[in-house]
């Protein structure tokens, strides 16, 4: 009786076993990576907009404060997108003939608002509130990092729940003095000298029993305490979901 398995079957077996194993692992890895990729999450992908608005130009080059346009960010859950009138308050004077601004001009004339594409779109069961983050020393670019460099706006985070929780469990890593919230170039103080300078700049003084923070981590903890942030409560479900 001739051999059932020929020699080349060894190769077939190896390829099948290892290939199957690695293939399966590879498939899982691929799937999980694809689902986190910007292809799916749309992070880092600029969206088409009726007007190619540049945050880089308006913020970095012209130095307009965030709140000139996003005026409700300190008061409300929504940062607010500027009304046509706000855009036209400058653009009735500058770039009055730019073809790129035609949608704004016709909106102003017709009274029909401009519909922007939503860039940072959280699921409907998430109730994010801008005002409390802004008031408690979370800077704009903690979530919208790189906004000052964006010619076309994209979301710089996938906004996964794990990412939110990272900060809600350790806000000291991202907190900054309230006066630095709208500063996109904020650098946390690294040593005691820098901490002291920063505290002086923002009128922060030590209370009895407090020690002078010596690095950025300690400074973060100091601010968390100073701003009365109850970290243990921040990861309660109903803080964001209701």
């Amino acid at each position: 009786m001739p051999q059932v398995f020929k020699k080349y079957h060894n190769t077939v077996a190896r390829v099948t076993i290892f290939g199957g194993l690695f293939g399966l692992v590879g498939l899982v890895l691929t799937a999980s990576n694809v689902s986190r990729s910007s292809y799916v999450t749309k992070a880092m992908v600029p969206l088409d907009q009726p007007v190619p608005f540049s945050h880089k130009h308006h913020y970095e080059e012209l130095g307009i404060d965030c709140r000139y346009c996003h005026w409700s960010v300190e008061k409300s859950a929504h940062a607010g997108v500027p009304s046509t009138e706000v855009c036209m308050s400058c653009h009735s004077q500058v770039w009055t003939n730019s073809p790129l601004l035609e949608p704004m001009r016709s909106s102003m004339a017709s009274g029909v608002p401009v519909a922007w594409n939503k860039v940072n779109d959280l699921p409907d069961f998430v109730y994010f509130n801008h005002s409390i983050h802004i008031n408690k020393g979370i800077g704009c670019n903690s979530c919208h990092s790189g906004i000052e460099k964006m010619h076309l706006t994209y979301k710089s985070q996938a906004f996964s729940m794990a990412w939110c929780l990272d900060c809600h469990r350790k806000p000291e890593a991202n907190i900054r003095p309230q006066g630095e919230v709208f500063n996109m170039y904020y650098k946390p103080p690294k040593n005691q000298e820098e901490v002291e300078a920063m505290m002086k700049a923002h009128g922060l003084t030590l209370k009895p029993g407090e020690e002078m923070p010596t690095n950025s981590a300690e400074f973060g903890k100091f601010l968390v305490k100073r701003y009365n942030i109850h970290v243990e409560q921040l990861d309660n479900c109903s803080v964001c979901h209701r």
Binding site: L47, S72, K75, S76, A77, H78, G80, V81, P82, S83, T84, E85, V86, S107, M108, G111, V112, P113, V114, A115, W116, N117, K118, D121, P123, D124, F125, Y127, N129, S131, I132, N135, K136, Y227, N228, H230, E232, Q233, N236, C237, S238, V239, H241, R242
Partner: protein, 1021 residues
């Protein structure tokens, strides 16, 4: 289906029903009768039979669906999220911050044209929630279920949007051409052929415009008609004082209140005000020595009757006899009427009431229901005058032409019969449906050459008129209205017109009169000389309440013969439905699904009757299918088929029928629900009919009644089902006692309390560390006070509006799947025929050691640092283990996709701060966590503690009796801490040791010593 229970025959369970006399609390006659169906409810969260009811899929369909769902299951995650849009304003309004709600004052018009002031919460220009206006006399900040549900009326998808001629879409232009032509002809005739029919109105601006219009057409007639009206009240005052006057009572000061069929805490323009004031006086306070005493005589248990100290059930015709007897016992002479024969119980009730009234003197009052005959109102006026009651005062009525509803509608019918009417404008109302049956309006309307009906729906009347004109909702219009006390409040548009073709009655009449002013300018004109901006801001026009009219004490009351009902063996009482009203709310699904306050029936009206009467008629119930036999009711030549519903506490020898059901063109929800009691109601029997013939058929009809839903086991290790009502074996559910007991020992001790040592299966959490007021930490808690709870269901409606709670429909309610997060349990106490009613609102108890949390496999329900039992919808996979493990049965499951995601106009209705739940998700009360979060964020921004009273839950805010306290129980000065320290404070099912955050106070009654039930020891239950 095979093990179908035999039907429950009321005549055979008498013995079992008598057990109720032993004194425990009980919930339904099915429970008393030890029916297996009730135990099923007790032990199964969702009764087994519910699946076999109706339309369950067959095997073949099941496999098809399973196959398809398996194949598609993997693909559900593959949809791409649609690209959202942000649409900012072109010019942003100054005061609007996107994401922050703004409150605007306006007014809701109640039956009779009376206004109740509201504040409407609006999000980006769309009103989503109604609250009472604290500045308004009829609201004082509270509301009721109908007010809460008015927001759904605004967004009702069935609202009429187009102007119709003979049912075809037409234009206003064509209508006005026709109307002006006819009006021009009428002008020459001085309006002799012109008739206008409206509901009653109190609006000074509308009345002014109508009078100006009628000056142009001096022979035209303006009639007012509401099917549920106050004709008798005003006629009674006319008999007593010579002019129609409106009584206003001070229930906060009254010591003895005798109500003759008056549901003053629930019905009528002053109900919320009365409830607020009554509860002020009624609330137990430490060291309280005196409590008011409320006597109620009525046919069917009402909200007011349920809180009465002594409720006497009486046939409709007997109420007047009781009034006469009371007057005689007081020494008030009544000519031309005698009390007739009174039963022992009635005589004792009258004697006790008379004795208390005399003792209270000027602090006593007698109030009579609007449906009772005018002569009885006159008698009450005489008694109050005799008492020199300082808690009763009289004012001029707020309505235009008060007390002429029946005269008006009859006169209109006569005019049409005599062919004098050539142009008929019906501005609101629905006479074809709700006019007295003998007038036969459905035959009269087509006789008029030009008829136009302005209404929000194309209803029964619209169908018969030449023109149907779509009406604006009051929330879309300018206007004004007077409250019960005459004080004026303004209506302002809370939203732009949803449909461009709708008009208000004011707009129609001004256009026809050729006045080219806008409604806003007309309102401004009416209140010229005042700061209109302030009026619009506050909603109320100050100092417009009517002054008291001084009345002379009548020497005696003369009752014209025949003006008091003679009565018969079988009488019918007609009452407006507690929620649907006269039928105008029939398409409102919230109001349809909220159980009626005292009977817990929803989606239907039924013929309520006493248990004895049901036994005599041979009524047999099928509790498995929750079916009741249909019964033919015959009065003269008019008949109606309606389910027979035995109701503990109903008077014998009478049935009660609620109006407002049986609509034929009432919208997709209103049409086909219930039975039209108007078909039995003639102009001679507007509130009661006698000599009815009843015959029970063998046809069964399912009735959605929630009385046995979400019941929980009173006891453990019960040997026989009778133990459920034998309180000594049972666990405490509710503390019920007497005021005498309370004065002896305010703890109203119960012997279960000390029996068990706290032991718990669940992990302890320590919330007591929150004592330091500077640490900005909270422990939320709620205390509900059944002492003042009238069971009116305002909380249920408010919760529904605030929390985007879906309705499920009659069929699903029968399967115990209603979604209300707060329910009002009704516990009977005492004899089955005539029990006392006690209400206990039950929400999620937010147990500190919550049994639901430990069984959730996906941690979708977990605890918060502040002690909330959080429900995370996006995590829930729908195992329903939590619900199964909940001892209070407060969790609700979305068996289907109950929420309407598709209808565009309903999207405007949702509270944007609460998730709209999908299918397969558990939900429950969250203590309005969106309001907590809002307050917490605002407080944190200001770096301060949340203030006491800053968070008001929806149920608490609505409650007209102020029976709910909510706040931080670690703050010793908070209201909730104060209530928790009350000696009569009580924890439901305390021995389970789940330490619920929602707790209760006791309910006590202030019995007259002669009438107190023999056995009323507190804590026996």
């Amino acid at each position: 289906m095979e093990n179908q229970q035999e039907r429950m025959d009321l005549s055979q369970i008498r013995e079992k029903l008598d057990k109720a006399k032993e004194g425990g609390l009980w919930r339904s006659i099915g429970e008393l009768a030890e029916r297996p169906e009730f135990e099923e409810y007790l032990h199964q969260e969702f009764p087994r039979q519910s699946a076999s009811l109706g339309d369950f899929v067959n095997r073949r369909q099941f496999f098809k669906l399973m196959g398809a769902s398996l194949a598609l299951a993997g693909l559900t995650a593959c949809h791409r999220k649609p690209q959202g849009k942000i649409v900012p304003f072109v010019k942003a309004p100054e005061d609007m911050i996107p994401g922050q709600a703004v409150f605007y004052a306006s007014t809701i018009i109640k039956n009779g044209g009376f206004g109740v002031g509201i504040l409407a919460e609006t999000h980006e220009g769309r009103p989503t929630k109604i609250e009472g206006n604290e500045l308004h006399a009829a609201s004082l900040g509270s509301s009721d279920a109908m007010m809460q549900a008015e927001i759904l009326n605004l967004y009702d998808p069935d609202r009429s949007q187009a102007i119709l001629k003979f049912g075809r879409i037409d234009t206003w232009k064509v209508f006005w051409e026709e109307a002006f032509t006819e009006a021009g002809r009428q002008k020459i005739l001085k309006g002799a052929g012109l008739r206008i029919l409206t509901p009653n109105t109190t609006s000074p601006t509308f009345i002014r415009q109508m009078q100006a219009f009628l000056k142009e057409f001096p022979q035209a007639k303006w009639y007012q008609y509401d099917p549920v009206n106050r004709d008798n009240l005003y006629e009674g005052a006319r008999m007593a004082f010579g002019s129609p006057l409106m009584p206003v009572y001070d229930f906060a000061q009254a010591q003895t209140i005798v109500s003759l069929d008056s549901d003053f805490l629930y019905e009528g323009p002053a109900a919320i005000h009365s409830s607020r004031k009554f509860s002020e006086a009624r609330r137990l306070r430490e060291g309280m020595e005196r409590m008011n005493r409320l006597y109620v005589a009525e046919t069917m248990p009402s909200v007011t009757g349920s809180i009465a100290d002594h409720r006497l059930r009486a046939k409709p015709s007997q109420i007047a006899s009781l009034g006469v007897a009371l007057a005689q016992a007081m020494g008030v002479p009544v000519n031309g009427a005698s009390a007739g024969e009174l039963s022992e119980a009635q005589r004792k009730w009258v004697e006790a009431a008379a004795q208390d009234l005399k003792a209270s003197g000027s602090d006593g009052l007698v109030t009579v229901g609007d449906q009772q005959p005018a002569a009885l109102h006159a008698i009450a006026c005489a008694i109050n005058a005799f008492l020199q009651s300082r808690v009763t005062r009289y004012i001029q009525p707020a309505e235009f032409n008060p007390g002429n509803n029946l005269n008006g509608i009859k006169a209109l019918a006569r005019d049409i019969q005599e062919n004098t009417v050539e142009m008929l404008l019906i501005l609101g109302g629905n006479p074809v449906y709700n006019a007295p049956a003998d007038l036969k309006f459905e035959e009269l309307i087509p006789k008029v050459k030009l008829t136009a009906h302005l209404s929000r729906y194309t209803d029964e009347t619209s169908a018969l008129c030449v023109w149907h004109l779509p009406e604006s909702h009051p929330f879309e219009t300018w206007g004004d209205a007077r409250a019960f006390d005459g004080s004026v409040s303004l209506l302002q548009p809370l939203i732009g017109q949803l449909y461009p073709d709708t008009r208000s009655a004011l707009e129609v009449i001004t256009t026809l009169a050729g006045v080219s002013k806008l409604p806003y300018d007309l309102v401004k004109e009416t209140w010229a000389g005042r700061n209109i901006d302030k009026l619009v801001h506050d909603g109320v026009v100050p100092n417009t309440a009517f002054p008291s009219v001084s009345v002379s004490v009548p020497e005696s009351v003369s009752v014209p013969s025949g003006s008091l009902p003679s009565g018969s063996d079988t009488e019918i009482a007609f009452l407006p439905d507690p929620l649907i009203g006269d039928g105008s709310n029939a398409n409102n699904t919230w109001l349809q699904e909220i159980p009626k306050p005292t009977t817990k029936v929803c989606w239907d009206n039924v013929a309520y009757m006493s248990l004895d009467m049901a036994a005599r008629l041979g009524v047999k119930l099928d509790l498995t299918k929750q079916s009741y036999p249909l019964m033919e009711v015959k009065v003269g030549d008019r008949t109606l088929v309606v389910p027979a519903f035995p109701l503990p506490g109903h008077a014998d020898g009478a049935i009660t029928l609620h109006l407002g059901y049986g609509r034929t063109r009432g919208g997709q929800n209103g049409s086909g629900a219930g039975f039209n009691a108007y078909t039995l109601r003639g102009s001679d029997s507007m509130s009661m009919a006698s000599g009815a013939e009843l015959s029970v058929t063998r046809q069964m009809y399912p009735v959605a009644c929630t009385e046995a839903h979400h019941v929980f086991d009173f006891g453990t290790g019960l040997k026989s089902p009778t133990d459920y009502i034998d309180s000594s074996n049972a666990r405490p559910i509710m503390k019920v006692g007497s005021f005498t007991d309370y004065k002896k020992d305010p703890h109203l001790p119960d012997h279960h309390h000390h029996a068990m040592e706290p032991m718990s299966m669940y992990a302890e959490r320590n919330y007591k560390t929150y004592d330091n007021p500077d640490n900005h930490k909270y422990a939320w808690a709620m205390v509900i006070d059944p002492q003042v709870c009238t069971g009116c269901n305002a909380c249920v409606a408010a919760c529904q509006a605030e929390n985007n709670i879906s309705v499920v429909g009659k069929d699903q309610v029968i399967r115990q799947r209603e979604m209300h997060w707060i329910r009002v349990d009704r516990y009977y106490k005492g004899p089955a025929d005539d029990p006392e009613l006690n209400f206990l609102p039950v929400t999620c108890m937010q147990c500190e050691k919550a049994p639901c949390e430990v069984v959730c496999p996906v941690a979708a329900t977990v605890h918060s640092e502040e002690g909330l039992n959080q429900m995370v919808y996006n995590r829930c996979v729908g195992t329903r283990y939590c619900s199964n493990n909940c001892p209070y049965k407060v969790r609700r499951f979305n068996f289907y996709k109950y929420a309407d995601y598709d209808t565009p106009v309903l999207k405007l209705l949702r509270n944007p701060n609460v998730t709209v739940r999908g299918r397969g998700v558990m939900e429950k009360c969250t203590y309005c966590v969106q309001r907590i979060n809002h307050a917490r964020i605002e407080a944190k921004k200001e770096n301060r503690r949340i203030r006491e009273g800053e968070i008001v839950t929806a149920c608490q805010q609505a409650c007209p009796a102020q029976a709910i306290a909510f706040g931080d129980m670690n703050d010793p000065n908070s209201k909730v801490s104060q209530w928790r320290k009350q000696p009569q404070h009580f924890v439901m099912l305390e021995e389970l040791n789940v330490t619920p955050r929602t707790t209760y106070l006791a309910r006590v009654r202030n019995y007259h010593p002669e009438l107190a039930p023999e056995e009323h020891h507190a804590g026996d239950h």
